[in-house]
Amino acid sequence: MNLADIVQAMFGGLPQYGEILALVSNSVWAGAVLGLVGGLIGVFVMQRDMAFAVHGISELSFAGAAVALLVGVDVVTGSIVGSLIAAAIIGWLGARARDRNSIIGVLMPFGLGVGILCLSLYNGRAAGRFSLLTGQIVSVQSEQLGWLAGICALVLLGLLIIWRPLRFDSLDPQSAAARGVPTVGVSFAFMLLLGLVVAVAVHIIGALLVMALVVTPAAAAMRVRSGPLAVPVLAAVFGVVSAVGGILLAVMGTLPVSPYITTVSFVIYLVCRAIGSRRDRVVRAAPRPAPAVGRS
């Protein structure tokens, strides 16, 4: 592949950009909604130290979708079922971080293996066979896109309803329980919402790359802000910019969407890290009035 081919692959669609955009407008909307919800839920994923759990859930979601493909039922339903089973198992067995990581470590390769087995047995179109792993939103049918956006809206609603108890439980589960927060129920509800977001993300960005929309935007936002409103808002903005920006860049050519989304979200993270470390330096240089206990 020479340079001309690469340019053709990246920008070949530019002359017809307007027409292409019209064709993929549903994908752009679905990406925007996912970016928004992924960014918001990512703040809690970070606070609860569950990035690895996101990865584990996404592999079982992939397995569910692959099984659905093989037996000929709806793929979105399959991915949601796989996702919710994984989220429930992790939520149920993995209350403590150490247990959780070992459970995820056990579940994840099993899920990937089942998924790859089913894809290998599947006799359908060879093209797009691995799109569940690496994502291809523009190949998702429009009625399914409606479903995906609807699920995201549902998660957004659920997340807002449990927002304050979830925030309390994420920071200090003992105090939350002492003040009557049903911490077990809140944690479980969070896992189910997370499972739903991951199932949607599997279709848009692919099982292997889910974290680019569910972890990276929130991690970037937490580098530069610390307010209870600023962090979620910024994370949601980063998520939307990553998803929509990635799709808009990708449809200029013939390359898949996912690498663009992951690149945009990664660049945002790098910029935020740079800004955050500069801010840290400034804070450290300024003398502080209160006696500080030696912590980094």
């Binding site: 807002l160 108890p165 925030r167 939350a176 003040r179 009557g180 209160a290």
Partner: protein
């Protein structure tokens, strides 16, 4: 602000015949304890004797094997109780915690509320008042994760006092604080006690709170002793409680207990990183 519904003379906490067994091992049993309004009781004892478990039982987070607990006028039934203030053992917050200092206090005001996270009228004023009351106004707007251990602990006291609780439970509130911050937190707890609240304070070091303690509940070996510091912290009483010779003496104005065996040999559970009483 809420005012206590019961007459002021009634005990804020009444424990009768309480006991907790875990895996056939008895943490303690036959525990009777009354906490009167304005009374501060320190809970002492080696690690693994169930001091934290006692606080959790009062909050309804830990079921009793036997006995009953009435807290702020009602029998303990449900999990959690907003009429009791609780200051659990502190861990420093991660530096990237997405909250400001005042939001730690805010969790005590609205952290239990479900529904769209829209502040109610009066929430802001309540948080401002709590922040001022714990002397945190100067750093309350800084990111919570960048605050020192003492600053975080003051804000956590503010969180625990959010509903002006008549009963306050503190679990090792002074651990890993420097002397100045220890004194500041002790003052905050004492000031709340002076408003008529009862306080139960778990600690491994009696010295910072010796001046404000009314009585001591000393747990060891599945048994307990209850009395004033002068009654409990003696060589004879503690030797009897531990079943081995233990010496209490005063060194440079501080009480030290020498020779107290750790509960480790007989205990399989640990409530946390608390240590034996030392000076």
């Amino acid at each position: 602000m809420t005012s206590p519904a019961e007459p002021p003379a009634a005990p804020l906490l009444r424990i009768r015949g309480a006991g907790i067994r875990r895996d056939d091992r008895e943490l303690w049993s036959g525990l009777d304890l009354d906490v009167a309004p304005g009374e501060l009781i320190a809970v002492l004892g080696p690690s693994g004797t169930g001091k934290t478990t006692l606080l959790r039982a009062i909050l309804g987070l830990q079921e009793l094997s036997e006995g009953t607990i009435d807290a702020v006028g009602q029998p303990v039934r449900r999990r959690g109780n907003r009429r009791i203030g609780y200051l659990p053992q502190a861990r420093p917050l991660p530096p990237e915690t997405p909250l400001r200092g005042r939001d730690l206090v805010g969790l005590g005001v609205d952290g239990h509320r479900f529904g769209f996270p829209v502040p109610r009228r009066g929430d802001r004023a309540r948080i401002d008042a709590l922040v001022a009351a714990v002397g945190a106004s100067s750093f309350a707007d800084r990111p919570a994760g960048t605050l020192s251990g003492g600053e975080q602990q003051r804000l956590r006291v503010g969180q625990a006092l959010a509903d002006d609780p008549r009963l306050l439970l503190c679990d090792e509130p002074l651990t890993s604080l420097d002397l100045a911050n220890q004194q500041a937190v002790v003052d905050l707890i004492d000031r709340h006690r002076r408003t008529g609240a009862g306080v139960l304070l778990v600690t491994h070091d009696i010295n910072p709170v010796l001046d404000i303690v009314d009585r001591i509940l000393y747990l060891a070996n599945g048994r307990f002793t209850l009395g004033t510091p002068r009654e409990v912290l003696t060589t004879r009483v503690l030797s009897d409680l531990y079943g081995v010779p233990v010496f209490v003496s005063e060194v440079g104005g501080r009480l030290v207990v020498v020779g107290a065996p750790d509960a480790e040999s007989s205990a399989h559970h640990h409530d946390g990183p608390d240590e034996e009483l030392h000076g």
